[in-house]
């Protein structure tokens, strides 16, 4: 494309002094004695819920308890038997509108900010955003301290971390709590354009 | 150790008592201090207004006048910062005075390392951390940064008998003088001045003190216009009080 070569050529010619990449291996990033505890506290502080689920607890029962009035539950996870919709099978993304609870799986959590890494693992990622309430299932042993560790994990392309990767669908996101905005007079409101509540179920 | 005393133009013309206090204090501490005559200005007012080249002849004169001293000390953080940071840029040869130039607070704290009782000033004072002092000369830890807190001005003031030193909320927010800014952006400058004076007064202090007369001049101007009962003294006047 004519513009690409012109732009790169011009830029290259205009750079004066060049600088080296700094060494990033000595960043003394924050770590926690109890990353799981920190993670749960951060999720709460950003307006989400974090619940440690006892072993053997029926997830579907738990979800029904948390959202007794929910009519439409969307999930492609095989263990979510109460799902009434499946983001793998809907005709169009917009058909997921009106979902009361979307249930998705996260890969790992980040203690410093309550983020959960969610690679797209369903045909329509809309389920993560269009649902009124979002439930994220997370293995509680999969918590990293900070974003350096998180991105290091995403950078490693080995079989073990294959599950983190998002090459298949080409989309992944860190979600920390429910969507929110303070755009009207700086008053913080939970529930902007995406989920109005976010609950991490730690399994 | 020979110290040359640099008295900036507005200290010379409007606040000579600050120059006197500086001279007396240095002499009291046994320092060999000389005041070279025929000083005028460091050039900062023109430079901040966009005409820094006009500071070049002044920088040359400064270099000539002060080059043989071990230290050049001034009771003004803004002028000191201007000399240190800009003279080496403006002069086309080596500028030795820029390296030797220090604000009096810096000098007393870091070179003389004063640790004995100084003057007497049994009053509550609110400390004004002038921007040039905080963010250019490192007189105190900037509130923007995550660094171990320190305040050289406060350390020196604590050596004064009877004094009670407090700091206002937003303790290193700008007073709004800014040189030409005060007569160009009159509304914002006055608002900043009024806001700052109000925060100082909320501490209950009788005096507002700081290391730069331009900040004090600006705040005094807005305070008096509002008829507010608050007094102003440069730090060095307090350090030298009663000596």
């Amino acid at each position: 494309m004519a513009s690409k070569e012109d732009i790169l050529k011009k830029y290259r010619a205009n750079v004066r002094e060049k600088f080296d990449m700094p060494d990033l291996s000595d960043i003394a990033a924050i770590t926690y004695a109890d990353p799981l505890l920190q993670f749960m506290n951060m999720v709460k502080s950003v307006g989400g819920n974090a619940i440690e689920v006892e072993k053997g607890r029926d997830i579907n029962e738990l979800i029904k308890e948390l959202y007794p009035d929910a009519q439409e539950i969307a999930s492609n996870l095989p263990e979510i038997t109460i799902a009434t919709r499946n983001p793998d099978e809907v005709g169009r993304a917009r058909d997921l509108n009106g979902t009361d609870v979307g249930v998705i799986r996260g890969c790992f959590g980040v203690a410093e900010n309550g983020c959960v890494w969610i690679p797209q693992q369903m045909k329509e990622k809309a389920v993560c955003f269009i649902s009124e309430n979002l439930i994220i299932l997370l293995d509680k042993t999969q918590i990293v301290n900070n974003m350096h560790e998180a991105y290091r994990r995403l950078s490693t392309h080995d079989a073990k971390s294959g599950i983190d990767q998002f090459d298949e669908y080409g989309y992944g996101t860190f979600i920390s709590g429910p969507s929110k905005t303070a755009d009207i007079a700086q008053v913080l409101v939970m529930g902007a354009q995406a989920a109005r509540s976010a609950t991490v179920l730690l399994l | 150790m020979k110290v040359g005393l640099f008295i900036p133009c507005y200290v010379d013309a409007v606040y000579p008592e600050v120059g006197v206090a500086t001279y007396k204090l240095l002499k009291h501490l046994g320092i060999d201090v000389t005041y070279p005559e025929k000083q005028t200005c460091c050039g900062q007012p023109m430079a901040n207004a966009g005409f820094e080249k006009q500071a070049i002849p002044l920088a040359e004169k400064f270099e000539e006048k002060f080059k043989d001293f071990d230290y050049v000390v001034a009771p003004s953080v803004s002028c000191t910062a201007f000399v240190k940071i800009n003279y080496p840029r403006l002069i086309d040869h080596e500028c030795v005075t820029a390296k030797k130039c220090m604000d009096v607070v810096e000098f007393l704290h870091d070179v003389v390392k004063v640790d004995r009782r100084l003057g007497t000033f049994p009053h509550k004072v609110s400390l004004h951390n002038s921007c040039h002092g905080v963010r250019e000369l490192g007189l105190s830890s900037p509130s923007e940064q995550h660094v171990a807190p320190f305040n050289k001005i406060k350390d020196l003031l604590q050596l004064v008998d009877g004094i009670d030193v407090v700091e206002p909320k937003r303790h290193d927010e700008c007073c709004g003088f800014g040189g030409m800014f005060s007569i160009e952006e009159t509304a914002v400058s006055a608002q900043m001045g009024r806001d700052k004076v109000e925060r100082h007064m909320q501490t209950g202090a009788e005096y507002i003190t700081g290391p730069d007369c331009s900040c004090l001049m600006h705040m005094a101007g807005v305070a008096h216009k509002q008829g507010l009962d608050i007094k102003f003294k440069h730090v060095v006047e307090i350090l030298a009080a009663g000596l």
Binding site: L8, K123, F129, Q193 | -
Partner: protein, 456 residues
């Protein structure tokens, strides 16, 4: 000696209640940033690394841009290059036309504001719906953003309530509660997301190593904009491309902490390719002056900016004058600098809207030397032909006075006569100092005379 900024600021300050609220609100955001900074022992180290990564990246940007585009194309993404705003708008319109797009939803992008994309598309019959709540509010009001992160901050909840009633978004007249209004906006925008033919996002970062576009939002509107419509276009300024995930970690950790005082945005989304049920994803890389700015020896570091907004939050002048006082669409310290790079003639007036307190460059997460640069821009105004003539004359006068010790001594000797000038004359309106200050008293003897007595 006034500028557009000083006049607008004077107006702004007339409403003291609002002006105090504006100042307090942004100081509160600055305080939240401080708490974030104090909570991380590595904060200053991160700033240094972030600055160094950016200096490296933008001085090797041609390599990283090539790598980014190559990887994006490997992912099946169409990559376009726009040399300027006009070309950008043409490319966007071309893509939308090819896909028969009638309505496009978009998440926040200051780049599209820079290119004035919305009016361009609207003039050609394409409806553009802003989905960031603040951007949507000002779009409906026909206004420009007054802050790069909080664009509608100049409006209060009554302004928004009345707007929503007028536009039929709100159903309960008089209910101006922000929670209610946000909910009504949600319903309105939900409908837009579902019926739009295309979604456009900006990009906080582009990752050279993988070809990812990374978008950070609290609202989830970038994700909704790309979840339902069949087309995704991402607009990205050249300087937003960074090398890899290791670098991204540094910036992601700082962006929200610096800008809004939160540890993270709710969503940090990576877009590598289109959804399986959608058309191709398009990325448009935009130059629009950046390849020239890198050549500017005093101002190239402004290209490090990650658009967090922390400089304006801390700026005591911005807080007391508001975004609309500045002539450039980006206000505050970074706006002053970018405005001068964009058009020095048009935006020279902003350069004096600064006390050189340097708070901006002390908060900046990537250490852009914002205040130092403003000082340097001032030195060039005379060459640009935009220096204020009164200032120039005053400086010439001072130069003469200070250049001659004899003249200076004579002048300072006479200064105390000014004390006798009656107040009505001092305050007659020709003396700008007297607008907000009482005059200082000139002593009878300046220091250089008193010292002679001291020595004796």
């Amino acid at each position: 000696m006034s500028t557009q900024h000083s006049k607008a600021a004077k107006q702004f300050l007339k409403n003291q209640t609002y002006a105090h609220w504006h100042d307090a609100t942004f100081w509160a955001v600055r305080t939240k940033r401080d708490n974030m900074a104090y909570g991380l022992d590595e904060w200053e180290q991160l700033r240094e690394k972030a600055s160094a990564i950016k200096r490296h990246t933008i001085t090797h940007l041609d390599e990283y841009l090539d790598q980014f585009a190559t990887n994006a194309e490997k992912n099946g993404v169409e990559v376009h290059w726009a040399k300027d705003a006009d070309e950008f708008n043409e490319i966007v319109y071309g893509i939308l036309k090819n896909h028969n797009v009638k309505k496009m939803v978009k998440s926040k992008s200051m780049l599209t504001e820079e290119c004035e994309m919305n009016p361009y598309l609207e003039a050609r019959g394409i409806e553009v719906v802003e989905t960031d709540l603040g951007e949507r509010i000002i779009q409906l009001k026909g206004q420009k953003p007054s802050h790069i992160v909080m664009p509608a901050i100049h409006l209060n909840h009554d302004d928004v309530g009345e707007l929503f009633e007028e536009k039929g978004i709100s159903k309960e007249k008089g209910n101006h509660d922000p929670t209610y209004l946000t909910y009504r906006a949600r319903l309105s925008l939900r409908n837009e997301f579902l019926t739009a033919d295309a979604g456009m996002t900006g990009a906080n970062f582009g990752i050279a190593e993988t070809g990812d576009i990374v978008v950070c939002t609290n609202e989830g509107n970038a994700d909704m904009s790309t979840s339902c419509p069949k087309l995704h276009i991402a607009a990205i300024g050249l300087e937003k491309v960074i090398p890899n995930y290791e670098c991204l970690a540094v910036f992601q950790r700082m962006l929200c902490r610096a800008g809004t005082g939160q540890p993270t945005t709710t969503y940090t989304s990576h877009f590598r390719k289109a959804r399986p049920t959608a058309h191709h994803m398009h990325i448009i890389l935009v130059d629009n002056g950046r390849s020239e700015w890198i050549a500017n020896p005093e101002h190239w570091e402004s290209l490090k900016c990650i658009r967090c907004g922390s400089c304006m939050n801390t700026c005591p002048v911005y807080r007391r004058s508001g975004g609309y006082s500045y002539s450039y669409f980006i206000p505050g310290p970074i706006g002053i600098n970018l405005g001068m790079l964009r058009d020095r003639q048009a935006h020279s007036g902003n350069v004096s809207a600064c006390t050189l307190c340097l708070s901006c460059q002390t908060v900046c997460p990537v250490k852009v030397n914002l205040g130092d640069q403003i000082y340097l821009w001032r030195q060039q105004l005379d060459d640009f032909g935009t220096a204020n003539p009164e200032k120039k004359m005053m400086c010439r006068g001072m130069s003469m006075l200070y250049g001659s010790p004899g003249l200076y001594n004579f002048g300072t000797g006479l200064a105390h006569w000014a004390n006798l000038i009656p107040s009505p004359i001092m305050n007659c309106g020709l003396n700008p100092w007297a607008e907000g200050h009482d005059m200082m008293k000139f002593p009878k003897k300046p220091f250089h005379e008193l010292i002679k007595e001291l020595k004796d």
